[in-house]
């Protein structure tokens, strides 16, 4: 089992280095590589804060309140997990593509959504939405609203309560969700592949760029960028272990 997990990683790094460090440096010096890395970072930079805010809000609603449609909302949050990523991409083409519902209107106003940056962000936001909310909901349900109520009773305002009471209680779980959200945002392939248009140096994120290089017979380049993504995964893994301990400790303390 360990072999099954370690072997692919080993292959990626040995293939990347098969022609030495020079080839790796050349591959990373390609303008298209720089643009793929920059684009991936930018997509994540928009997606992750957005999903952190929306995910926290959704988790707060579900964790703290009882209201009609609460179960439905919980299910909706999970929806992106149960839908194939290809569909998650295709819906945006069907909505905002030239023949989509809003396509002609957008076109008249000169706004490009699909096959451009906004489309990549939309697809990524959709796919990564559940991560933050899911990691917060169980915790917030468990904690209950008593501390917040106490704060309000003592005269704290809404924002103050959130900043001084709610946020400190959820911060590790929130970070954990943000971490997973970010990892997926940078690694997503299927959904962004559909909305990308595959324009080199413009709409290729790192995973798409790996595919393009592989198909160009540029093995070293493909595996070099793949190695970068793998390193991201390893860093995520390490941080995740760390955070899991924190979250676990936080919960025990609370109980």
């Amino acid at each position: 089992m360990t072999l099954l997990l370690v072997l692919p990683l080993a292959v990626i790094f040995t293939q990347a280095l098969s022609k030495g460090w020079g080839a790796v440096q050349d591959a990373l010096a390609e303008p298209d590589a720089g643009s793929a890395i920059g684009l991936t970072l930018m997509v994540a930079a928009v997606t992750v804060p957005l999903n952190a805010v929306c995910g926290t809000a959704a988790a707060w609603c579900i964790g703290r309140f009882r209201f009609p449609g609460r179960t439905l909302l919980t299910t909706l949050i999970e929806l992106p997990f149960s839908v194939s990523p290809v569909i998650s991409g295709l819906v945006w083409v069907l909505l905002f593509g030239a023949n989509g519902w809003f396509g002609p209107w957008l076109d008249r106003h000169g706004v490009r959504v699909v096959f451009a940056f906004p489309g990549l962000v939309l697809a990524t936001v959709f796919v990564t939405f559940p991560f933050v909310a899911r990691s917060l909901i169980p915790l917030m349900q468990e904690q209950g609203a008593s501390e917040e109520e106490a704060a309000i009773t003592l005269g704290a305002g809404g924002w103050q309560t959130f900043r001084r009471v709610t946020l400190p209680n959820i911060r590790w779980a929130l970070l954990y969700g943000v971490l997973l959200c970010n990892a997926r945002a940078m690694g997503e392939f299927g959904a962004v592949s559909v909305v990308s248009g595959h324009i080199r140096g413009q709409t290729l994120t790192m995973p798409l760029y790996v595919e393009a290089l592989f198909n160009d017979y540029e093995w070293v380049g493909a595996f070099t960028v793949a190695a970068l993504l793998s390193m991201l995964a390893l860093v995520t893994l390490a941080l995740r272990l760390l955070l899991e301990r924190r979250v676990g400790a936080g919960r025990r303390m609370h109980a």
């Binding site: 920059g38 970072l41 930018m42 994540a44 930079a45 928009v46 992750v48 804060p49 083409v93 905002f96 593509g97 030239a98 023949n99 989509g100 396509g103 076109d107 490009r112 699909v114 096959f115 940056f117 970070l175 943000v178 971490l179 970010n182 248009g197 595959h198 324009i199 080199r200 140096g201 413009q202 393009a212 592989f214 198909n215 160009d216 017979y217 991201l232 860093v235 995520t236």
Partner: protein, 336 residues
């Protein structure tokens, strides 16, 4: 990796920056939406054209490329991918754009040679020593022979593959439409996997070692030998194949909106110049220019070639063979 406020602000700034400068440089960029195996061709063509355009006009033009299965690429352009020029695997895919009004219906007569500056054909790529003794179309049906081809629904090359097979089957003594259809059904029985584009099929065959024979564009077969080593693969020329004419066109609706018609047209005309033809031939596309063709006569042997006209043109062939409910849907059952 959590982002610090600083990098986040930097990224957003960069994003706004891109949005702000896009219109200013828009006039001097072209997007060429192309099919799968032309990656290397257009890398060379673009470099040469950019230099030629700079020399002629003093302007700097940037050419962006997008590659994928021809049918899938046409679909993306229909869905709004802003292609100034399309350079696809077959006329039917550009016809589909013309039907939706993206370019004029007479697009194919606006450039010489049916708007196809190069031609190619379909050949067989086999492993070293031709272990399964594959020499012509009937050999593909031998028991145990696995045939690799991409999916005709998404790949233009695969559609030429099907037409090449049909061209041979229809020339056999006593051939009927039914016998040709039977041959095709038997042929696709030997196909273990359908990639979406020609390049995916090539890597399946050459890199991942799937199958015994790859039905490939001639240029793709040559390139595979160059990339993976002449020693590992051999090219087999079947007795009959098809004259593949991958056409090019300016997308009227896009160039008029983006004001790029002049440079887009110059770009396509460049493909017909001796320099463009030479670059094509070097990348294993059969040149139209007789002088260039003469220089590469040894590379490109003469073959018996059917043409798309033998099938009534793409306007007839596309619906009859490849549209939903067409011949291909009748003969190919996934997983059987």
């Amino acid at each position: 990796m959590p982002h610090s406020a600083l990098t986040r602000r930097g990224a957003i700034g960069a994003l706004l920056g891109t949005l702000a400068v896009t219109p200013a440089v828009a006039a001097t960029t072209l997007l060429n939406v192309s099919y799968d195996p032309t990656r290397e061709l257009y890398r060379d063509i673009n470099r040469a054209f950019i230099a030629a355009w700079k020399a002629k006009t003093g302007d700097v033009v940037t050419i962006n490329q997008s590659h994928g299965g021809s049918g899938a690429q046409a679909r993306a352009v229909l869905d709004g991918l802003q292609a100034d020029v399309v350079t696809l695997a077959l006329a039917a895919d550009i016809d589909a754009l013309a039907q939706r009004g993206l370019l004029a219906a007479d697009w194919q007569s606006r450039l010489p040679d049916n708007a196809a500056p190069f031609t190619s054909t379909i050949v067989f790529l086999v492993r070293k020593g031709n272990p399964k003794q594959i020499h012509d179309w009937p050999d593909l049906l031998k028991p145990g022979v696995q045939v690799i081809t991409p999916n005709p629904k998404t790949s233009g090359g695969a559609r030429w593959n099907v037409l090449g097979a049909l061209a041979w089957a229809r020339r056999q003594p006593g051939a009927t439409d039914a016998s040709a259809e039977d041959y095709l059904r038997a042929l696709f029985h030997q196909v273990p996997v359908l990639d979406t584009g020609a390049r995916g099929a090539t890597t399946s065959f050459a890199q991942r070692g799937l199958g015994d024979v790859l039905l490939a564009w001639e240029n793709e077969a040559f390139l595979a030998r160059k990339e993976f080593g002449d020693a590992d693969f051999e090219i087999v020329l079947p007795s009959v194949s098809i004259l593949a004419e991958p056409p090019v066109a300016v997308v009227d609706s896009v160039v008029d909106k983006r004001d790029t018609r002049t440079v887009a047209e110059a770009y396509l005309h460049f493909l017909y110049t001796p320099e463009g033809q030479e670059i094509g031939a070097r990348n294993f596309y059969r040149p139209r220019d007789p002088a260039v063709a003469a220089r590469y006569a040894e590379t490109f042997p003469q073959l018996t070639l059917a043409t798309i006209q033998d099938f009534g043109g793409w306007a007839k062939a596309q619906p009859a063979y490849f549209a939903d409910g067409g011949l291909f849907d009748r003969i190919f059952m996934p997983g059987k």
